[in-house]
Amino acid sequence: MISPHGGQLVDRVLKGEARERAEERVHGLPRLDVGDDLAKDVENIAKGVLSPLEGFLGREDYQSVLRSMRLANDVPWTIPMVLDVSEERADRFREGKDVALFHKGKALAIMHLEEKYRYDKEEYARRVFGTTNRAHPGVAKLEEMGEVLLGGKVDLINAPQSRFGKYKLSPFETRVLFKEKGWRTVVGFQTRNVPHLGHEYVQKTALSFVDGIFINPLIGRKKKGDFKDEVILEAYATLIRNYFLKDNAVLAILETEMRYAGPREAIFHAILRKNFGCTHFIVGRDHAGVGDFYDPFAAHRIFEEFPDLGTVPLFFRTFFYCKRCGGVANEKTCPHSQESRVNFSGTRIRKMLSLGEVPPAELMRPEVAEVINRYENPFVE
């Protein structure tokens, strides 16, 4: 099995007596209530999804990630995992002391606060998103964040509730699953969309070279107009049931927000899938992009800077349905002209589905379209 990022899978989930003691202790600690996104970050840290992180970044790691795309110990890491608070709230917490993190009124975790520090939002935006334009959803969110960051390890007491528990596996679990299935090589597929035939083509092309595919939709805060989480999951479950071999494909979710950080987030996504046990990772066109903020292939080129990533990226360029080939093809495999090609336009498919129409079979499996059309509104409002 492939080694986790940084060498060891982090496990900071409190169990048994330690958990019971923590449940009692939290009531005597200064309290910080966190929202859904941060609660998921805490859970992902504790369960090893974000290995080797054991908590939220301290100043040295934060600056190193921002400027070098690596932790201070040189391990690749591209997205700052930070816990922000207002200045007023930060004054209630003392470095070297514990903080009780609560989510929706329930004890979430204990944070061992190591340091508090201010940060430059403009630099964060420029380096992570490549822009300071507020039209970028990551920049807009950053503007609303508190002025102070808290760094320190976390110990999980109660995981946040999930609406999709039956699809939720930790890296410890996926690694056992892949071993039981006899998979030595696994390709990870990140998605935040319902599958069309182009996606299936990419997945099956990659699958031809490895033992199994781990289809891992990202569930969490998305932008208006994206497909709802339950729609994505049901569409994928239908696709796999009808068009994949049960022994070669696993569907499980990753609960975290989209950052829309383009190339940096492509590396981040690859690292998370490596922790789940993926030896390979599919990187698509404009991976984790939004609008036209990124060059569509910047997310491919960035991998050249990380030869020590420890997982193999598989790059896919543009693909389309070719009427003359009679199937899905790409620029390398199809000699025919533009007139023969039907692009997998997300906008076109979206428009048809929003009108309750079934996209043609060369664009989307009818079973998948039917599932989506069962929803009155399949999109995030």
Binding site: S3, L9, D11, K166, L169, F172, V176, P307, G310, V312
Partner: protein, 52 residues
């Protein structure tokens, strides 16, 4: 372009070799769960329908 390859530069070739070597090296990582813990995980995977 390096002749008779798809690599555009020596550094692209070196990156490829390093990445391949690291991946194969890392495949040798040890297991971290005890037998009992692993059994519990398998039980959950069976309950969820991931394993028969």
């Amino acid at each position: 372009m390096i002749e008779e390859t798809d690599f555009e530069s020596v550094s692209a070739y070196a990156t490829y070799l390093l990445r391949e070597a690291l991946t194969h090296f890392e495949l040798e990582s040890k297991e971290v769960l005890s037998e009992e813990e692993e059994e519990k995980v398998k039980e959950r995977l069976r309950d969820l329908g991931y394993l028969d």
